[in-house]
Symmetry: none
Subunit: 288 residues, 2 copies
DNA sequence: GTCAATATGAAATATTAATTCCAATCTGTA
DNA sequence: TACAGATTGGAATTAATATTTCATATTGAC
């Protein structure tokens, strides 16, 4: 019908930035209450995204009907469609890193030069760090630190892609004078090495899909000896999770088929240093 | 009524992480359709935040009533209160990257326990990535890639703190089917290993202050054989710089006496993958 | 100051969405 | 195989929310 068509003739802002620009442009020609809700909308976009017409109107100090008139003045056919724009904004913000990564991937694939590859890895690392920073469970972290701090020897277990992390942990533990054993015998003596572990020791096991069979097997075996295990892995379905006293799920972004390990590294370093701190504290208490 | 009180007694997850943990914990004891919506919720948290019960149920392939039962099983009194948790998550996420980084750093500095240690390492890694992203010399990068791409064997040389980077490079080169040799003989045969290198090979040497003497010594020795060297190090005064055809200066931020290695890792991965790309291209040209 | 046009408030209504209910189906057990 | 209990689907009901309407107030031009 023609009436419906009429509203479509106007340029209805489809994204937040356009909407924002439109509001700012018309700001001075808007009636008082409409201007009031307009200002509120730009100041509290999240409230518009999630609130109800009634709750938003109340917060802004106007009537719900005013809110709808505001939406209509901008060319929307009601509050609901105006709200969509505010919701879309949140969704996009949220996925901006993923999109950036996707863009870089595309650029690298179509031959955007080496710089694109480099940027891609930096972006993957940043994304992973952001994710882990949001998702780390503090209680688990404390638990893991406590468990590792009281271990006589910390065994470190990892293969393939995770091996660099293990070697870094071993290096850092060594610098902190914490007895540790990196399980990586070239002579094939891993089983024997693991055999020495007792329940007074502890294990850090690291493995990501596709899980290196050797890591799984060794973790199982050492778990059966009653040695407590801290696992760093990539999903709750990981075979490591079932053996572990505490486990961390780390989601690393990938680029060009290679996953970042920055988040895992950051977690590993934090664990190591926190264990060192805790030991120092404990040592001081014993002496003092 | 007592029924209402009963639901409040249970620990209702108030934040997304707790909710997530609760779901994962009960995952196996949930009925089929409930488990289905549970998996959907964790995979598509944004949809839960924005959708209606009907739309979400349809996307997940269940009935709206199932969605409500799911919420109730978790202790919420309905879908609406479950949804609040998902919305809150989006609001929190929303704060900008820089703001969060600044917050992390502040918190880490004022020493707020274990979480602060973790935040400190994340902040250090993020800072380092930002720095390298700004300072990387593209021409040097291209040069290094060209040099490495035409090598018969790539020797990788690093000790101590840099060793994890070397082992990761070796792993990645291996996956890309690029012949390489990680110089790390436990049997003390490094000198012999290096002896095989010719000017048709190439070296990636990584070392940061305080430079591991072995790395320096081996790099000198291999340079004298006329093998071209790409170095990753931390300043122009680095002893590695003088031997290298191309060298990168990487400034890593530190926390608690431990430097990040995220930037070095990102550079290493980018170099590796770029070399792989270049070889693929060259291969195609030769065949086509 | 009066009038018309515009804007606003508040309640009524229409719409949409969440929740409940009950019959049907599945699952495990005797 | 029969049964009880749990689970599920789908319609009916209830609650909530957006929108419309209309009376009232405000504004600006003459």
């Amino acid at each position: 019908m023609a009436v419906g068509g009429a509203t479509m003739d106007e340029r209805v802002p489809r994204d937040f930035e356009t909407l924002r620009a439109t509001i700012l442009e018309r700001r001075h020609s808007l009636p008082k209450r409409i201007a009031q809700i307009a200002a509120y909308a730009l100041d509290n976009p999240d409230d518009i995204a999630f609130g109800t017409a009634a709750s938003i109107a109340a917060s802004a100090g106007v009537q719900p009907s005013t809110l709808i008139r505001f939406a209509q003045q901008l060319g929307f056919d009601g509050f609901t469609s105006l709200q969509q724009v505010f919701r879309e904004r949140l969704r996009e913000r949220n996925s901006s890193y993923d999109e950036r990564l996707a863009a870089l991937r595309a650029k690298a694939e179509e031959g955007g030069g080496h710089r694109a590859i480099f940027d891609g890895f930096v972006a993957a690392a940043s994304t992973s760090l952001g994710d882990i920073s949001r998702s780390l469970n503090e209680a688990h972290f404390d638990e893991a630190v406590a468990l590792l701090a009281k271990a006589e020897t910390i065994y470190v277990l990892a293969r393939r892609r995770s091996y660099p992390v293990a070697s870094y942990i071993a290096y850092a533990l060594g610098k902190l004078k914490i007895r540790n054993q990196l399980v990586e015998s070239a002579a094939g003596l891993n089983a024997e090495m693991i055999g020495f572990a007792t329940p007074r020791d502890a294990v850090i096991a690291i493995s990501f899909s596709p899980y290196a069979p050797a890591t799984i097997e060794e973790t199982r075996s050492i778990a059966e000896q009653g040695v407590p295990i801290v696992a760093i892995t990539d999903s709750s379905f990981s075979p490591l999770a079932q053996f572990a006293e505490v486990w961390f799920e780390v989601a690393e972004a990938d680029f060009g088929g290679f996953r970042s390990i920055s988040a895992t590294m950051a977690l590993a370093m934090a664990l190591t240093v926190a264990v060192g701190e805790k030991r120092r504290e404990a040592g001081r208490r014993r002496k003092g």
